[in-house]
């Protein structure tokens, strides 16, 4: 069981002071050494085609790796020299492609997700994990006026199943295990993902993200225990958020509008019981990886060290 850290530690979406650094190569190259110094030797990279457009300092697309390093061989060499032993997983969130038109969404994801799979293959990652659907808000925007959303949602999920089956084939060809994740604002939030995965005509695993399960009102310990054989990746993310305002339906569900809060907290700052989850994973013979998350971190070094402190003192890692 390898324990790595996710690149979503670097919050590229919001301009708090000093964010300008995140687009340059020097920032990332130092960050690898700091991640390693905090005791994490493996990375998950969040593939995001947004950075294809002139932002090759951000190493989250194939183009960046080609332009800056001349290919993955040199990039992985640099990671090794920085104390990072490997990239274990690549994640992909398709929400940004859902702007009100279903055909455009499925077309874009069908085109771009394979690029993320290629990134996974080239980087030697074991897992490709994709957020299974866009947010409720984004999908509702696609629903034609006057049409029942329940029916539309059902059709959208059918198309999603076909898309994921296609991608699973591509992942298999690339030698990468395919997982899907269910952020709490997606159509497969909470336990809904379980039957969806079972009904797919392809072997696709669940990426169990502890904070997202909890925010959807599901006990992460019970979920992981009940579905262990279908879980291909575990994200250790923390939260104390209780969604009493239907934030999962809002336009920016990570930022609940009625009472602002930082939904995703650094490890140990929320209420997720990682000790119990770790025991369940060990006792159940889980042979996948764990990726620690500090999504929307306000301070990368503090987030890394908080996670390491928690792992050391509570899990003996």
């Amino acid at each position: 069981m390898k324990i790595g850290f996710s690149s979503d530690l670097v919050n590229l979406n919001y301009h708090a002071p000093n964010r300008n650094r995140y687009e340059s190569v020097y920032y990332w190259e130092e960050l690898y050494t700091l991640i390693s110094a905090a005791g994490f030797k493996y990375l998950e990279m969040g593939y995001n085609p947004k950075w294809d457009f002139g932002r090759s300092g951000i190493p989250l697309v194939n183009r960046s790796i080609e332009l800056v390093y001349g290919g993955f061989e040199n990039y992985l060499k640099l990671l090794h020299e920085s104390g990072i032993e490997g990239i274990t997983s690549v994640s992909f969130d398709p929400n940004m492609f859902c702007g009100g038109n279903t055909d455009m969404y499925f077309g874009a994801v069908g085109f771009l997700a394979p690029q993320a799979i290629a990134y996974a293959k080239s980087s030697g990652a074991e897992v490709f994990t994709m957020t299974a659907t866009p947010s409720y808000y984004s999908v509702k925007k696609c629903c034609p006026e006057g049409e029942s959303f329940e029916k539309f949602e059902e059709e959208f999920l059918d198309k999603t199943a076909s898309l994921i089956e296609e991608l699973a084939k591509k992942a298999e060809e690339a030698g990468v295990k395919m997982c899907i994740r269910n952020d709490y604002w997606t159509l497969l939030r909470g336990n809904k993902i379980v039957d969806f995965v079972k009904n797919l005509n392809a072997k696709v695993y669940i990426d169990a993200d502890t904070a997202n399960l909890k925010a959807a009102g599901v006990c992460p310990e019970a979920f992981i225990k009940d579905n262990l054989e279908n879980i291909g990746l575990v994200h250790f993310s923390d939260t104390d958020f209780v969604d009493d305002q239907e934030a999962y339906l809002q336009p920016l569900p990570e930022f609940p509008a009625k009472r602002s809060t930082k939904v995703f907290k650094d490890m140990g700052r929320g209420t997720v019981d990682f000790v119990k989850i770790y025991e369940i994973l060990k006792d159940g013979g889980y042979d996948g990886n764990i990726i620690c998350n500090a999504r929307n971190s306000y301070d990368q070094c503090r987030s890394l060290l908080r996670a390491r402190r928690y792992l050391q003192t509570k899990l003996g890692q």
């Binding site: 919001y14 301009h15 300008n20 002139g54 702007g99 920016l252 809060t261 306000y298």
Partner: protein
């Protein structure tokens, strides 16, 4: 009333909250200044407090803005309650050199004009073509295609009370050797110019001469400084191994752009020319690459009002 109205080109990326109702509690969660940069209410107040009347938007932020506010009109009302109006919006015309793309690019331009009209803005500041490193050098035919579609969008814009203003980048395919020629290929009745002072300096043109020559076309500014005196063709064209293809963001964190007064652009000389030509309109402070947008907004406002304002305001 001042001749110069100060706007700020908002490089805040996504602003995820409309208004934080539990600000103190939210602050106490992490006790950092991040809380101060997450909602429109605070950010618009920073604009007004530092001397700005306008905000210029970036099109890639519109999806979230409309998600939060519902309609452009609701966003405009929210801004106006805090003393701010929308001055303009940025727009890009990638692939405009390809004749077959004309209709697609024209439609996207029309949509941008329609959106800006709803937002109450005036200037659609438009980068005319893709980066030089992607499509350069442009042929005469390619340049004509760009001019044709920009003029067509400009005509539609003028009919709707909007000005399409060319906005050049020092790494754009319309560059040092053809940007004046290109400006003259567009119809002056429909196509105007947003002079980005740092971009023109980096391109290696003379900012003062450029303004003096085209003052009738230049109806707005992106005001920023640079410490570079005109970069080589290799750098601007994305052919320098030290800077590689994506010139705008450097590998080592070197900044092309600085706050007005922190670089080498002759701001006082420019202001004397603004006075000479009786410029009236929006000047947008653009502070891309700053580590601190609020500090940059305040510094730029001081420079414009307290230093340059002695020459012309």
């Amino acid at each position: 009333m001042s001749n110069i109205r100060l706007a700020h080109l908002a490089h805040f990326k996504t602003i995820p909250y409309k208004q934080i109702n539990n600000f103190r509690d939210f602050y106490y969660e992490e006790k950092t200044n991040d809380t101060y940069f997450l909602d429109w209410d605070h950010i618009l107040k920073y604009h007004k407090a530092t001397g700005y009347d306008g905000i210029e938007l970036l099109p890639w932020d519109l999806n979230e803005i409309l998600g939060l506010f519902g309609t452009p009109e609701a966003y405009v009302d929210f801004c106006q309650e805090r003393g701010i109006v929308v001055s303009g919006m940025f727009h890009g015309c990638d692939d405009s050199h390809i004749a077959e793309k004309h209709d697609e690019i024209f439609e996207a331009g029309k949509q941008a004009v329609d959106t800006l009209k709803k937002l109450g803005g005036k200037h659609l500041n438009t980068c005319p073509a893709s980066n030089y490193s992607e499509i350069g050098p442009l042929s005469e035919e390619g340049l004509k295609n760009v001019a044709k579609v920009i003029t067509d969008i400009g005509r539609y814009a003028v009919d709707n009370g909007i000005q399409v203003c060319l906005h050049n980048e020092f790494f754009c395919a319309v560059n040092k050797y053809n940007h004046r020629q290109f400006l003259e290929m567009t119809d002056p009745r429909y196509v105007f110019y947003c002079l980005d002072t740092a971009q023109i300096k980096l391109m290696g043109d003379d900012v003062l001469n450029f303004y003096d020559t085209y003052a009738d076309r230049i109806t707005t500014f992106h005001l920023k400084d640079t410490a570079s005196m005109g970069e080589s063709d290799a750098v601007r064209f994305g052919q320098d191994p030290q800077h590689y293809k994506d010139v705008e963001i450097t590998r080592d964190g070197h900044r092309w752009f600085w706050e007005p007064g922190e670089g080498v652009v002759d701001m006082e000389g420019l202001w004397k020319l603004l006075k000479k030509h009786h410029f009236q309109g929006w000047v947008s402070i653009e502070d891309d690459q700053t580590p601190d947008l609020l500090a940059a907004m305040a510094l730029a406002s001081y420079e414009v009002n307290e230093v340059l304002g002695k020459i012309y305001r």
